[in-house]
Symmetry: C2
Subunit: 312 residues, 2 copies
């Protein structure tokens, strides 16, 4: 493993768009995925096979993935541009898993939380129950030869419980590992974490399941995402999630909850001498295009600054 | 020295406002300073005694400082709220120094850069010449019993030269120390720095003049300010500059160049167990008030998130 290589998982099409109030067309989602892959994205979270009743924005997941797959097949080019692109989807249950199999994704993501209160309010069961429910889902995924990720929400804080002990995220990661999860997405879902706490949580989770299998998923709600990324990076974490253009948050909305912007993350990582395999100009193009489609200002600070510098 | 204590120098009234296109009233500047002091700010950069021809926004510096001083004198309260408030002003030359003496500031800031090209374009002389010019200014400040800071612009990058070697900032700091400067403000004026480079520059400057005399001044142009702050903090730097509400940058302006938001900085520091002596509710009030006066959305992410949480 090359210690200077960082794997960036682009979650914009899923985490970034899922809470968009206005419906985003399948064509715009497809264009976003294509632009991201052309920018070098090799791990792309493109859909969530959850109930359209709860998340209408993700209802066209099959179409998006079919479109991306068809496009990839016609693009030897895209394949040359980046290593084989791994497409992933969020799956809450067996119904979702069947859609994921139908879509032929490479990775599935099951999700629970490090907070009992959040799990109860979010998926109406205890953390232990949520993991039990995943067993058949994971078995099916493994049978289909898929890579299985487990997302641990609220690992750095919970809107209901407040502070969450580092040991809790580690315990949940261990339980997920026991049922076959291969990669652990430690998520600061509400963006409240700070670097000292980030270090404690990732150290504990790494001790439980091995840092090489841990990914950092930071939201920039309180502006802490890159500082927390740095803390995790220096601990040895080499996989991070981000959303192009900081999708998912509106700078002026109350309590903006966007993921860290891919452009800002890549600017920091490349500036520190890490290799991401991503092309900044391509990322900015992808970010500007989707921002325009959403009727939003383009919100990546690194992206805005580079554009201003370019057009000076 | 308490290693868990971090000194935050509020530069919003100066660095944050100096480039505002619309004139900001003296009353609004005075209210900003009062709100900041009531929030616990104990080091406040409130004016720049530069030519009004070049920086019209700073033309009322004497009135602002007279107002703040008069208010402090009538407020035994403010004195109890925070330790003696140290007021500072930027002074480019003897004329500015005379105004600073007249205003009775506690600290003056002379400024040069780590980039010859920037110094030439910004103050029409070489770095060496700029420091020679400070000699009489500094002598007068020391005679007046003032604390003398030296700002080193473009220490992490220059819009004309690009990368700037770490040794350059250290060399400039040493020269400033030789002429009597007591504190060294290492500034990422255009916000291009990343954490590895920040570590190299602050290590070099600290080696030259002692880290306890070094302050980090980061702009969030590329979203790197808090990550760079963390890198400097872990090196041992305990003084940082920030602007309330991230003043100085417009989130949607091309190449927004605001200082890091005081609220975001304090959220990180307090979250890591450092003491700043600052009150978050008071900071948010100060930030919202000036944003309203400027007709700008309130731009601190931590501030916005805490407000949303509070009003949920």
């Amino acid at each position: 493993m090359n210690d200077r290589r960082v794997s960036v998982v682009e979650v914009g099409p899923r985490d970034g768009l899922q809470n968009e109030p206005q419906p985003v067309s399948t064509a715009d989602k497809l264009a976003l995925c294509q632009n991201l892959i052309e920018a070098g994205v090799s791990r792309l979270e493109a859909a969530a096979f959850v109930s359209p009743k709860w998340v209408p924005q993700m209802a066209d997941g099959l179409d998006v993935l079919a479109g991306v797959t068809a496009w990839l097949n016609t693009q030897g080019q895209a394949q040359r541009m980046s290593p084989k692109v791994a497409l992933s989807a969020l799956v809450p249950n067996q119904k979702g898993m069947e859609l994921a199999v139908q879509a032929g994704v490479d990775e599935v993501v099951v999700f629970t939380a490090a907070s009992e209160a959040f799990t109860q309010k979010n998926i109406n069961c205890s953390i232990a129950e949520s993991i039990d429910r995943f067993k058949p889902v994971i078995a099916q995924a493994l049978q289909a030869g898929m890579h299985v990720r487990g997302s641990i929400s609220c690992a750095l804080g919970c809107p209901y419980e407040g502070a969450v002990p580092a040991a809790k995220a580690a315990e949940v990661a261990q339980r997920l590992a026991d049922v076959g999860v291969m990669e652990f997405d430690v998520a600061d879902t509400i963006g409240v974490g700070t670097p000292g706490q980030t270090r404690a949580v990732f150290h504990a989770v790494g001790h439980a399941v091995g840092l090489s299998r841990v990914a950092g998923h930071f939201h920039d709600t309180y502006g802490q995402a890159l500082a927390n990324t740095l803390a995790a990076l220096e601990l040895g974490v080499r996989t991070f999630h981000s959303s192009i253009g900081g999708l998912g948050g509106c700078p002026y909305a109350k309590g903006a909850t966007g993921n860290v912007a891919t452009e800002d993350l890549v600017y920091m990582l490349e500036g520190m001498g890490y290799e991401t395999g991503l092309n900044m100009a391509g990322l900015i193009h992808a970010g500007q295009t989707i921002a325009q489609a959403l009727g939003r200002p383009y919100a990546s600070r690194a992206g805005r600054a580079l554009l201003a510098y370019r057009t000076r």
